[in-house]
């Protein structure tokens, strides 16, 4: 009788546990996915650069318009052959931090 009660109880609880665990797991998975998705979105948003800035953003040295390169996440001035990095969605337009695209070793200085 007690054994039956015990097994009943455990089975009920196990069923309950499994029943309650599954939605929890699902929730966690969804939340995890959402988090990863939102993180992904946030990351891509925080890394993605606001393209509307290109309306008035130019190279500080030559004042010529720039080209946004999505792959390397940089703003490229074709004329002078320099690339300004974008870190966390903030374009770094300081000439000393720019990178020369060509193979020459000369750093860009203002």
């Amino acid at each position: 009788m007690s054994h039956a009660l015990r097994t009943l109880a455990t089975r009920v609880f196990s069923v309950q546990r499994s029943v309650s665990a599954q939605p929890l797991l699902r929730l966690v998975k969804i939340r995890g996915q959402q988090r990863s998705r939102s993180d992904g979105v946030k990351d891509s948003e925080s890394q993605a650069f606001d393209v509307s800035l290109l309306e008035f953003l130019v190279c500080p040295l030559s004042k010529n318009p720039l080209r946004y390169d999505e792959k390397s996440n940089e703003l490229i001035n074709e004329e002078l052959g320099i690339a300004y990095p974008i870190i966390d969605g903030i374009p770094n337009m300081i000439p000393q931090d720019a990178r020369m695209i060509h193979k020459t070793e000369k750093p860009t200085e203002s």
Partner: protein, 325 residues
């Protein structure tokens, strides 16, 4: 004479624990007596030097030193502002916005914007101004004709004119802190962050309606160049506004202010931000900045018109304003 003053200055700099009040008094004498002498001295040397607080450093070094100062204080910048000015800096910035009185749909360049205080206030101001204008418009439309109602619906489809604020600062740490602040406050549209040098702005000509630089221009190595760049990026009819520490007019207040600056502020800096030297630089750089009239002349020389200044808190802070016409 200039050499002896430099020697004196070096001597005082190398012993930082000297009683601050006496040090600042002597330094004031040195500065006042030596300013013309030192300028002559520096012009005659090959590499030009400038001031970093009360020290004299080569120009190339100043930008780097200033960068390091703000890099180290970035996290605690807002807290320190509140502590040092007892919260009054908020009133100063609000006054700047009131004088600016921006209409919705304008584009602002907030140079040396750092943590974005001015830009946040700008966006808030324009949004509330737009709401107020809508409300007034609605009030005047209480008994409209059918013609008026259809016109109203058609025009409202356009939505509010989008005000835009661009925060530009040379220091990436300050921009990071500011961006986090924006994200927690939930301000996403209309605000952009750019790392750039005020002496070489990465913006096209005639782009901005308003250019502000709040508590930043005294850290720029070549102020004239920054003013030239401001003139370049402003649209014709655009306004230049500068909020900066200046010379106190009242002598009693000046003495109290000096005592507070040199005795309290570095201590606060050490206690709250763990950085005595940066705040020592801060109070010294305030003393080295030109006074209201001199700065007004500099702005006029750059090409701005209708230049005027407003003294706040007895001259501790001054707002200079000029137009590109």
């Amino acid at each position: 004479m200039a050499a002896s003053i430099r020697a004196l200055r070096f001597f005082f700099n190398s012993t930082p624990n000297i009683h601050h009040v006496s040090r600042c008094r002597i330094k004031h004498l040195c500065c006042r007596a030596g300013i013309t002498g030192c300028r002559g001295y520096s012009d005659s040397t090959e590499g030009r030097s400038t001031h970093f607080g009360f020290q004299t450093v080569p120009e190339e070094e100043k930008a780097e030193k200033v960068y390091k100062v703000f890099e180290s204080v970035a996290e605690k910048y807002d807290v320190m502002n509140d502590a040092m000015s007892l919260g009054i800096h908020r009133l100063w910035k609000d006054t700047l916005l009131h004088i600016m009185n921006p209409q919705p749909g304008l584009r602002l360049l907030d140079t040396a914007g750092g943590t974005g205080d001015i830009s946040f206030r700008f966006l808030e101001y324009t949004h509330s101004m737009y709401d107020r204008q809508q409300r007034l418009r609605a009030k005047s439309r209480q008994t409209p004709s059918w013609q008026d109602i259809t016109e109203h619906y058609v025009s409202d489809d356009a939505g509010p004119p989008q005000s835009r604020a661009v925060v530009c600062d040379i220091n990436k740490e300050m921009l990071k802190v500011g961006k986090q602040k924006a994200e927690t406050a939930g301000i996403t549209t209309g605000l952009s962050w750019v790392a750039g040098d005020a002496e070489e702005l990465p913006f096209d000509d005639d782009q901005f309606d308003i250019y502000t630089i709040a508590f930043g221009i005294r850290n720029v190595t070549h102020i004239e160049q920054a003013l030239q760049e401001a003139l370049r990026v402003l649209k014709p009819g655009g306004r230049f506004m500068c909020l900066e520490f200046s010379k106190v007019t009242n002598p009693l207040l000046a003495r109290l202010y000096d005592a507070y600056s040199f005795q309290m502020i570095p201590v606060l800096g050490e206690v709250i931000a763990g950085d005595w030297k940066s705040y020592q630089y801060l109070v010294e750089s305030i003393r080295k900045f030109p006074d209201q009239e001199t700065f007004k002349e500099m702005i006029e020389d750059a090409g701005f018109l209708c230049v005027q200044y407003f003294n706040l808190t007895g001259g501790i802070v001054a707002i200079h304003s000029g137009f590109k016409l």
